[in-house]
């Protein structure tokens, strides 16, 4: 994989504090303000969260409609059985209300899961972020290399304020987050691997919060 251990996944603490500050001061009542940025809905689909099987995913939007959590049940790869290279994904398409004069971007995303890998086996977790209708995307990769006898991972992606991933000014937007797992056991086909989610309820968890700015 290219770009393993992207540097965007390092500065977790500073950005988290920044986000907490923003969200605390913008807590609102149940009815969202039409002049504010808020989440209208989230749709999920992919091999790891098939739309036809709604039990595979659980999505919760916060009361202020500025963040959400997705819990996955079936985002899991294991070897054996199957082929040495395997992949699965879940894409969340988030409809956003964006009032005139504003544009919106994503601030932080945290992904959690578990990797068990034999020697020389490799697991890759990639998160891809983009606005629909807007070709630039931001992608963060992390490689986990075996042996790992039970590594609970947590990756936080901090999307810089001046990142390319911003909605256009004055239009509503759809923000997409595609989470992909790739398992590569080709360098040790006799070893066992599991690359999945952590908790008993689901596994991956994404916590999202939006930052916003005025159009110039």
């Amino acid at each position: 994989m290219k770009n393993p251990n992207s540097s965007g996944r390092a500065a977790v603490l500073v950005a988290s504090l920044f986000v907490v500050g923003l969200s605390t001061s913008s807590v609102q009542a149940a009815d969202p303000d039409p002049n504010d940025v808020y989440i209208l809905g989230v749709k999920t689909n992919g091999k790891g969260c098939p739309k036809g099987d709604p039990g595979t995913v659980e999505t919760t939007i916060s009361e202020d409609k500025k963040s959400f959590v997705v819990n996955f049940r079936d985002m899991e790869l294991s070897y054996p059985p199957g082929k040495p290279i395997q992949t699965t994904n879940c894409q969340a398409d988030v409809s956003l209300h964006v009032p005139g004069g504003w544009q919106v971007s994503l601030a932080t995303v945290t992904t959690r899961g578990l990797a068990i890998l034999a020697d020389k086996q490799k697991a890759n977790q990639t998160s891809t972020y983009f606005f629909a209708g807007n070709p630039p995307q931001k992608q963060y990769h992390t490689d986990i290399v075996g042996p790992q006898d039970g590594y609970f991972y947590q990756f936080t992606d901090v999307i810089p304020i001046e990142s390319l991933v911003w909605s256009k000014c004055g239009t509503s937007a759809i923000f997409s987050i595609n989470t992909t797992l790739i398992l590569d056991a080709s360098k040790n086909k006799s070893g066992d691997a599991i690359f999945n989610s952590t908790s008993m309820d689901a596994g991956f968890e994404k916590i999202l919060q939006y930052q916003w700015k005025k159009c110039t």
Partner: protein, 198 residues
Amino acid sequence: MTSLFILSALYACLAPPAGPDPNSVYIEKITTGGDGCPSPAAVATTISEDRTIFVLSYIKMQLEHPPGPAVAKVHCKAGVHLHVPKGWQVALTHVTTRGYAYLEHDMVAHQTASYRLAGVPIGAEYSHALMGPHDDFYQFTDDPAATVWSKCGGPGLFAFTTTLTLDTSANPEGQAIFNTTSSDGELAARVHLDWRPC
């Protein structure tokens, strides 16, 4: 935060009205079919609040080897139904296909997108190739608005077909995965002045 609330108040008058304006161009609905999206459950369709942007997320737009023949193919055809008021032409623009490919040496994968519009003889087709060895995500962006515009006042029915082909015949012992996870695009955008008054 104070400045934020003041600005919010200032922009109150610019809030968009509820529901699409019949005098504007917007997406009415999107229908899908094909072996890569055989039922509504196999594809998630999201249209933006202002109905000018869409994204389709797929489950079955995936080819793998083995098993299967040395040359494999899968496709999904999306019908994008547009509301086109009198005096306007529309197009699709910034259509991006995103996915992942793992190809061992001598394997070739192609992603092809074709755009046709009901009642318009000229279409557009774009093809993108990936050669093994390859282990990475891809994104391909097409701009069918360069060639395919509706007639004035419609009908605005775009047929947008995404096809994946995988050729492993030069390395049948190797493994391959080739998928498309989503396609997204927008109506001819205001900011790009692609809406042409007739």
